[in-house]
Symmetry: C2
């Protein structure tokens, strides 16, 4: 038996996949038919049957909207979380500010390395002040508000009304923030600055 889907069957697969990817509930047979211009439910049912035989589609019976594309990756997938991305955080802390978010970053928790809370947020990096820690202009950094930074941690702090990345260090027992770029050698006393979050992860896209 041929295990490759036909064109029409492939269209059904793609429709189900796109629903999943968009975060919508899986379509019903009738919704699939409507989308593909098929008037009869049983025609859709036949496509589904064929795809199940070919091992490409799952359908738990007795449950509505349970169509699920089978892929080797599916078994490896982890829960995906959605994090608010800000250009900058004008003042204070990022909690309960989701409504002011510029965009949304969605990543699975395994790749992210931790399970985010309400205190997790993301910033777009501007400038190369953290080049020494291999964080460059345009990167998106994920931060967590709350935990006490340890020496060496990268933190976001409010400097001159802007969220800025610095390294948290201690000198003579007192906390300071420093940029990781020889062009900005100054140390700033950390007590006077509001630390908005501690660096947890980074995402970068290639230029263009």
């Amino acid at each position: 038996m041929n295990l490759e889907p036909t064109k029409r069957q492939h269209a059904v697969l793609r429709m189900i996949e796109s629903h999943r990817s968009a975060g919508e509930p899986p379509p019903t047979f009738r919704e699939i038919g409507q989308n593909l211009g098929i008037a009869s439910v049983s025609a859709v049912a036949k496509h589904v049957q064929a795809l199940r035989r070919k091992g490409l589609l799952n359908l738990s019976d007795g449950r509505s909207r349970s169509l699920d594309v089978i892929s080797p990756l599916r078994a490896l997938q982890n829960p995906v979380v959605h994090i608010a991305l800000f250009g900058s955080i004008p003042a204070g802390y990022p909690q309960h500010r989701e409504q002011e978010a510029d965009a949304c970053v969605s990543v699975d928790i395994e790749t992210l390395g931790f399970k985010p809370t309400r205190n997790t947020f993301a910033l777009r990096v501007s400038g190369d002040s953290m080049i020494g820690r291999h964080i460059v202009h345009g990167d998106v950094v994920v931060l967590e508000h709350g935990p006490e930074p340890r020496p060496g941690d990268i933190v976001a702090a409010l400097v001159d009304g802007e969220s800025t990345l610095k390294t948290f260090v201690r000198k003579n027992g007192r906390p300071f923030l420093k940029a990781e770029n020889p062009k900005y050698p100054d140390l700033m006393p950390a007590e006077e600055l509001m630390i908005q979050g501690v660096f947890k992860a980074l995402i970068r896209k290639a230029k263009e």
Copy 2:
């Protein structure tokens, strides 16, 4: 009217959210009841009603399994894609090798910067040979097989049976690969090497 959910209502919200995050279809009223130890469907319906009144939950009527947690982020969310992550690619190209994937990286396409194809894959970076381009040990890089690399592009190539990151350059009209680390100054002729993919994105988690 108080717009905050009660404990019990919050439990309902969390259950719906966890289904979504895990990539499962939204639960039915009866499934919610089962999960929370509620025997009566109408009790669940009351919680859903209350959450809708408070603007925390959406329910398109006439459709089953259409519960959807309302969040300011929801409107900003982009489609999420799932990419196979390999430790290394022993030989050849990464297409149709999903069944050999070590893990799965899930990210939204906006953060990723492009819409992946069947030729998209991810590698875990080993060593600091690309430190000059600010890619460090442990990073996950997303690559695309297929497109012709342009000078300056970062590529994965098969060197001594291992997938390795290099910069693609031209010298006297001929293509070479070079590491971005003063410790490895050698240029390798690119013709002899199999280029597995071109760098498209990067994800890094903080140490520990």
